[in-house]
Symmetry: C2
Subunit: 255 residues, 2 copies
């Protein structure tokens, strides 16, 4: 992973276009007047953007509502299909879900966020898309904490600079010193834990996945606190997560 530097002369028009896409996505579609009210753009500029994005095929208009287009699936799926962690890790994540009967998440790190690339639900034969593809802050997630713990310190600092440490629940780590303490404990132990830090009542345990010494993602088990209490995580699940992470790493090296 190259060190990320802010572009000195960004192409601002493209930045604006993605601001439009992200906003429309966030709000499940917006009308022209809603977009006009939310964005700090001249009306003519907004019009030119919307007309161009629609013409490109990535924005669709449904009566008066602008929506993100399905064409993005093509870009997203091709990124996923090319992702080695997805190729190698998908079936092993399914194995872990079957073995533990818990939900297993396989996540990649890209640009400082976790992207869930596979969700395996033990005993559920149909792929459930819920939350697959979502970008998530790293610090509240078990998988995300495993990733942070094994990234170089300067990358962690630049991720915190960019995305901050916002609270998701009252248990989320929001303090940088505390984050680095967590990182130290996680490194010593080899696996990460989270107790109600992303969602109240949801616990998790995660392990990093490394290739050539660099973290490329994580695998994590998450479940209701009564089904995966602290003791079970440390005594049982941590070992299972670590074993699968290791198996994925070996497969990545030989793929």
């Amino acid at each position: 992973m190259e060190k990320r530097t802010r572009p000195s002369q960004p192409v601002t028009t493209t930045q604006t276009s993605f601001e439009v896409f992200e906003l429309i996505k966030e709000r499940d579609g917006l009308t022209l007047s809603e977009l006009d009210a939310e964005l700090d753009l001249a009306k003519s500029t907004l019009h030119r953007h919307l007309a161009t994005l629609e013409d490109l095929g990535y924005l669709v208009r449904d009566d008066d509502t602008y929506r993100v287009g399905l064409w993005f699936l093509d870009l997203g799926f091709s990124a996923m299909r090319q992702n080695e962690l997805y190729q190698v890790g998908k079936d092993l994540a399914e194995n872990l879900a079957e073995q533990t009967e818990h939900t297993v998440w396989l996540s990649a790190e890209q640009n400082g966020l976790a992207v869930h690339i596979h969700k395996a639900v033990g005993g559920n034969p149909f792929q459930n898309f819920a939350n697959v593809g979502k970008r998530r802050l790293l610090h509240p997630l078990a998988g995300g904490k495993a990733i942070l713990a094994f990234l170089p310190e300067e990358r962690v600092r630049s991720i915190v600079d960019r995305h901050g440490l916002p609270a998701r629940t009252e248990n989320t780590i929001t303090d940088e010193a505390e984050l680095f303490e967590m990182i130290e404990r996680t490194r010593e132990r080899g696996y990460s834990v989270q107790f109600g830090e992303a969602i109240v009542g949801l616990n998790g345990v995660g392990a990093p996945i490394r290739l050539e010494g660099e973290v490329v993602g994580a695998i994590a088990i998450a479940g209701a606190a009564n089904r995966i209490p602290r003791a079970k995580i440390h005594d049982e699940l941590a070992e299972q997560v670590l074993a699968i992470a290791n198996e994925i790493e070996v497969n990545l090296r030989y793929s």
Copy 2:
């Protein structure tokens, strides 16, 4: 669906950015010098684009190779989740696959192309992503032909203007007059058929899915010619495809 008009003053920088994404996607990743050779851009402009796209999070660099980022999954999946045809049609497509033991495709039409939003494989419990999310030309596909047949004539002409009628096999319709003959026959019959027009040896049958008189997509069965020969399509599968399309339409109206 609003009538599509080319933007009079497009935001060309955004067009360039998408040209970069599409090219990188098409080629499964490209290096800086490959991009420089392929794109008609000044080196400094290319540099500014790449730096901005990487900073936005949608482009990733893997050693020297630029790849489309996983962040696109978030935009793509949210478009899919919000798509009513996907919500309503997914399970019914699964039913049809189970009932016929053939592969069933659910496709939406967006900006003149078919986007496959669900693939149901009878008897195969795991979701197979292959080709899901791909954008495809309408005219070689059974589902695509069903869509074309029930779109207003002026939309068909503008789609042909934009995307042309390129051949996929020697059976593909490449002539506009022939396309309109197919449209007439398909309208009379109510369902579309294709025999080796997308891929040699692959036959298909499709039905349009309409909401408030407008085509929003199609459902189609596709399979090897020996498994779904002409007679079976007309005598048996057409009726089954039409029944499911009708069921999806009813559900769309009441969703």
